[in-house]
Symmetry: C2
């Protein structure tokens, strides 16, 4: 089955748009999508020497992004409310993702985390919010948050982020198909076409 790796950060607005589209587009094309949360922060610091989102560091670009994401959510029928804090720390959510990698409920949970951040203005860095989202996904929330805090889950996320850097990622969302990198939610269709060509 053709395969696509979907690399994203829970803090990333354009990752939210991609997360709302990738499941349907991939399944329609017969492509298997693997969801790979990672942390953009260390990559931005390493590559650009910044400690905040580029959309905050470069406000002209930030102004455009907020309008653009609103427009894209309207285009794709995704719920949207501009969060009162940006970027929100996606570390805990990404660690949960690493702790539960491969389990079938995970993509739905990831979409719920994105919705919490970008449609419901909830603080996804708050363990209570994370537990509520895990419970809504039918999971043992306390056990998963504990697993997410284990040395193994922490190391898995560090390894994942190091892998992203090795693959040449510099932003999110990114898609990797058979060694080809596609950057930006705008290029999701190209990535899927590459997987099926």
């Amino acid at each position: 089955m053709p395969h696509l790796d979907f690399w994203f950060d829970f803090a990333s607005t354009y990752s939210y748009v991609a997360a709302g589209r990738v499941g349907e587009l991939a399944s329609r094309a017969g492509v298997q999508a693997a969801w790979k949360p990672f942390l953009l922060g260390p990559i931005f610091t390493e590559q650009q020497g910044i400690k905040d989102s580029p959309f905050n560091v470069y406000p002209v670009r930030g102004r455009y992004m907020w309008r653009d994401v609103e427009r894209l959510c309207e285009k794709y029928g995704l719920p949207w409310r501009r969060p009162s804090a940006f970027p929100r720390n996606g570390l805990l959510a990404a660690r949960v993702g690493c702790a539960a990698a491969g389990e079938p409920w995970v993509p739905g949970f990831f979409r719920a985390v994105f919705r919490a951040n970008f449609a419901e203005d909830r603080d996804i860095a708050d363990p209570a919010v994370m537990k509520a989202l895990l419970e809504s996904a039918g999971q043992d929330a306390a056990a998963l948050v504990a697993r997410a805090s284990s040395p193994e889950a922490k190391q898995a996320l560090r390894d994942r982020t190091a892998e992203a850097a090795r693959l040449g990622l510099f932003g999110a969302p990114s898609f990797v198909v058979a060694g080809e990198l596609f950057f930006g939610q705008d290029r999701l269709d190209d990535a899927i076409a590459w997987a099926t060509r």
Copy 2:
């Protein structure tokens, strides 16, 4: 008639891709496209504090861009040869564009400048190259290069670049439709759809 402003810099690889697509897409949709060359350099310096292309300043991003543009040119059937110098200075070409603004041969000439840079590896900053391109466009090359060096043409390009900054541009290509800004050649279809909605 619906209208779209196409903002670009002759040094910009993604502007080359957009320049190869905008004419056909706009005319098919019944949209009038106005070609607006401007200078990215002052905008990058003002907004990001850099004096070179971000693709040189941030090499990970640069590596991706070169592969991505090659892929896009294949997708859209555009000729492509990676230039031996990047970015090439588009100042003279942009001044010629300002001196001849509104003349009907100008978009074809602009496309030829882009091809010279990105398909023929010619130095578009060289007045001899510019004259050859103007002659190929059936123009009085010496007169136009002289007009391009007039205080009026220089001021027109400064004004154009200041207008780009006022509109919130931070990169190229950008499209402006009824006050809505779209950034990136990936968003050309969205910009045209906005113009005709």
